[in-house]
Symmetry: C2
Subunit: 220 residues, 2 copies
């Protein structure tokens, strides 16, 4: 399969959407974007996912992150389906655009195909792919889930927080990190540089190798 | 970049590891495997991740899931580093093998390269990629994280539970699903078939389209 992966620039495709024509790079502009596919309109897991995304829209908005959906259904189908999504979780409004890719070319270029799923005509269907795209139009982090497993939107929010914290403070986030917890200082930063960059101080874990590479600090 | 993605068969590579030579398909056998890369030995986030994986080993074992690590460091480096990992979280033993890919060929074939990260010789380094491989040797679900963001091992456990529940009961799991919660009946199953397959019954969400596609049930 074609291989859009982390570090790659997202293709600058132009597609119809529920908000009119969208050119992906223009849509990203200088923000983060969550570009996510769903297998099909009027299907069960997708309805729960897009309703959840609508519910989390405020959280993403606070973080300056825009949402952009895509599937192979057409725009009118998306618009009709949105009534179901909003009825399923009353109060959750689908304010983000959903793109239409009836030719299935975009989902191939975006690494969003689920090779195990076909429509009634044998056409490809999208997986539950979700790429976090940075202001530089590059894929920062990807989740590739099959149609039978709904995504975890809390983990998507956590990943956005981790990416933005890492980028802002030039640090990295340890396993299972949550906002407010300690971060680590990257290996390329010497202890002397770390003292300057992190005047709040840092703790170095005492490990058998004595290499002093596991350094924790707090950032605001 | 090369594009191993969900639905693809994992390449049947043979590599040295901390447990001797490993041929990936033989290692998978008829079980699920979590195949995960880390950017480098003796680096901070990786140490927290591999210690966490050691801590979760019992959870994965209960689910019949084997762990298999990989990076570009050599086997001796892995063995030395394991002392640090185990000292960082006393009681967490690294019982899973870590493969060595000094030629960087395997990480390319496995879609585990972080194109933004290079070693001091300009060589590629792995991302924090994690593929859940099924007994059929195919990639079921992938997490592709950059070096600056540690993974969420709770989400990995949840994803394994969701995949295994979906496969066992021929159902799908809605957004943010956790074990014990309701699952959904796939669209390909008619209501009549559903009544046979799910004698415990199911609830159909009442949505404006009236299409009756969002059907919840409980499985054991």
């Amino acid at each position: 399969m074609p291989g859009l992966t982390i570090g790659d620039t997202v293709p600058n495709l132009e597609l119809d959407s529920t908000h009119g024509k969208i050119r992906i790079h223009d849509f990203v502009g200088d923000t983060y974007v969550i570009l996510f596919s769903h297998p099909g309109d009027f299907t069960p897991v997708c309805t729960t996912e897009l309703a959840a995304m609508a519910g989390y829209a405020k959280e993403f908005d606070k973080r300056g992150v825009k949402l952009l959906g895509i599937s192979c259904d057409d725009v009118q189908s998306h618009k009709d389906w949105i009534k179901d999504i909003e009825a399923y979780k009353p109060g959750n409004r689908v304010t983000y655009p959903i793109m239409a890719d009836p030719s299935r070319e975009a989902i191939k270029q975006l690494n969003m195909v689920d090779p195990d799923e076909k429509d009634s005509n044998g056409g490809h269907l999208p997986s539950r792919a979700l790429h976090i795209v940075g202001p530089d139009k590059k894929v920062k982090l990807s989740f590739l889930y099959p149609s039978c497993v709904g995504r975890n939107m809390d983990e998507v929010v956590r990943a956005v927080d981790a990416l933005q914290t890492a980028a802002k403070h030039a640090v990295a986030t340890p396993v299972n990190w949550k906002p407010g917890e300690r971060v680590v200082i990257p290996p390329g930063v010497s202890d002397d540089e770390a003292k300057e960059k992190f005047p709040q101080g840092f703790d170095t874990a005492d490990l058998p190798s004595g290499k002093g590479y596991l350094r924790f600090t707090k950032v605001g």
